[in-house]
Symmetry: C2
Subunit: 466 residues, 2 copies
Amino acid sequence: MATMASLFLKTPGPSQSLPKTHKTRFVLPQNLPLSWRSKYRAGAAAVRIRCGLIDPDGGKLVELVVEEPQRDLKRRQALSLPQIKLSKIDIQWVHVLSEGWASPLKGFMRESEFLQTLHFNSLRLGDGSVVNMSVPIVLAIDDSNKNNIGESSSVALVDDKDNPIAILNDVEIYKHNKEERTARTWGTTAPGLPYAEQAITHAGNWLIGGDLEVIEPIKYHDGLDRFRLSPAELRDEFTRRNADAVFAFQLRNPVHNGHALLMTDTRRRLLEMGYKNPVLLLHPLGGYTKADDVPLEWRMKQHEMVLEDGVLDPETTVVSIFPSPMHYAGPTEVQWHAKARINAGANFYIVGRDPAGMGHPLEKRDLYDADHGKKVLSMAPGLERLNILPFKVAAYDKTQNGMAFFDPSRPQDFLFISGTKMRTLAKNKESPPDGFMCPGGWKVLVDYYDNLTPSENGRVPEPVPV
Amino acid sequence: MATMASLFLKTPGPSQSLPKTHKTRFVLPQNLPLSWRSKYRAGAAAVRIRCGLIDPDGGKLVELVVEEPQRDLKRRQALSLPQIKLSKIDIQWVHVLSEGWASPLKGFMRESEFLQTLHFNSLRLGDGSVVNMSVPIVLAIDDSNKNNIGESSSVALVDDKDNPIAILNDVEIYKHNKEERTARTWGTTAPGLPYAEQAITHAGNWLIGGDLEVIEPIKYHDGLDRFRLSPAELRDEFTRRNADAVFAFQLRNPVHNGHALLMTDTRRRLLEMGYKNPVLLLHPLGGYTKADDVPLEWRMKQHEMVLEDGVLDPETTVVSIFPSPMHYAGPTEVQWHAKARINAGANFYIVGRDPAGMGHPLEKRDLYDADHGKKVLSMAPGLERLNILPFKVAAYDKTQNGMAFFDPSRPQDFLFISGTKMRTLAKNKESPPDGFMCPGGWKVLVDYYDNLTPSENGRVPEPVPV
């Protein structure tokens, strides 16, 4: 994957000579599309275009990994504390917290943060300001853990081999009302929500919050760690590239040419707005995903091909892995996806149709209205500083043999290829229409389904979740 | 009920000569209880004690009743419009909206307001400021209504006899996702939530929002209309009384001496804080309540007796009816109860254990954690200006033969009399311990249960809901 690293992080020469620290204010261009303008109109604290990266939530990026010289001390301290064993998803959240994606959160939520998240999707800080926080980042424990902790104010968090991962200090234990948590996060309590089945239904009846000290950076040793840039590292990279705008694209699926068209077009629009060097953060989600999503490893191979094939410009693209687990909580979760990218320096966020959505677990319909994600995102407290870029619908244009923005005046010329359709084609080793995806990228998908061992009845099984 | 009116609205002489318009700022006293202090510490816009009434949300009280000279015109206009028939609960919401309890809402919610309410319990206004709005105030219509409305931008809202009540202008029709609405409002989708069964489950699959023009003030002709003071009328009354603090007490149950003790004690504390003339708004909820709550008419009789018996001081108490229906949505609804009282001029709000709570419809537990109501209320966006007064627990002190604040050092001396216990005693014509409730008030309760016609099997039936 050497090519991948060099491609993903290839740094252009400083073709722009914008000042890095001095914050220039641009006048808002008159030709903004309507949806952008309403954003600018929205509040007293109107968004301004400026050089330099957007500030992290709370003003300062939270970093919770203990300094090198203190790590042995912390490891020894952890041995003397009551222990809580972390699941893989718990460790992903420790990772998220440790690098400040959830800034200004300093650890797993205490009850006051949990309640504010459930009821308001936001947290009020000590100075009265508000930051967005829409999904609970909590750690569940059971009765025996709770008894074991007793009156201890600190606990050690360990992995499945009892290696200490972190220490949680000034802990607070409170009730884990799973029904209420699920209802307020997903807007349904129907059985079959992937994250709930994986991390809530069978979890303990208590939550434990506190301040984290993470003993060393979280690594997965899966060959992809070097692509897991922290918000601080991403900020350094954007600064090194003299980015004056960073637009983030969250994804958990293979990239097709429709996505590429959208990202290229966004850059064009940002240049038209007056930005000199907009940089794309192509940011696949790397934590827990449901069984029928394409696993991270294969998605990363596919993204590599897309860059190699020149569909996206490596000069102005940073590909990195976002370590968060996936909730599939639609309008609630898209806020988290956007907020975390502010902390990594993004001031523009591309939002598509039904972001973080899925089918209803019981009913034959989508769980969320396809437009609610972008509507909720555009109104969300604490995200006023972020410029929301609604996704234009791209489809396969049969007259041009390629992906293009859908033109409602000639619907007969367009073909919509859903994720399900795409997966079915790849599973059956069929080819999509020319121009749907670059050949190298498509081959990765076909290889992935080929690599899944067929089950006895000859059908390709669903992959096993993380 | 002449005595009732004179008692409830008896006006003391202007014993205080505080300026009504000039806003003096008091220094925060050092001896505030801890829970109050944290409130003062909370934000950049710290709460300040000042004379004059608190401003309504959005700065201006919304009033949606058409002026007298235009009413005939509006009635005729209504006849030419597509019609929607209102339920009793719908009319209660029209009442609520018409008088500005939900200021700055100008009518039933459009989708952007509905989504902000569900996700954020608050609305962002055009100037970027935020007001609290935690329960959806929406109007459901079915497919045939929707077809009938067609492209019309206005519709007439009529009662069950087709009398026009209001006109809804610039309407927007959007999907009524009942499951999501219920999950996000109540934190459960369990069947058996009283408001949901009454107003959601069988309602139409669409919601219609728009700006209201209410043709004349909503009246119920039940002998209690004169106690239904609007926020504007309450503000006039508080101003007339030279109130420099207004503390609101929401209730949907008979008043016992524990409540009275709490209200009297609150006034004492406010005087200690430096207020010269704190006035109590004793504010029973008058809209829909569940079948086993005591109906409004009987509660009002009971409240009258409590004032006649001198348990509360009529000089510093205003009793009025709050026209809202009841959701029983716990921490979500208590915000609505508080916010509406800001609009009526209250700057202090008393919150008890498990406000607006009830038992879980399916499980043997309370639906909400008893402390979540006051916690959520104290953190709610848009309520920063309101001073939250947590309820101290009162119980029957056997050593004093009366209600007193519970003293944890001698628990054996106290008797807790729940609402269920109280109702059972009254149903069986038994007496509560001396000093639990004034005799006149208790007699009203016994009379109420006596008046319910026993069903054939000799058991007292539950009353029928509004």
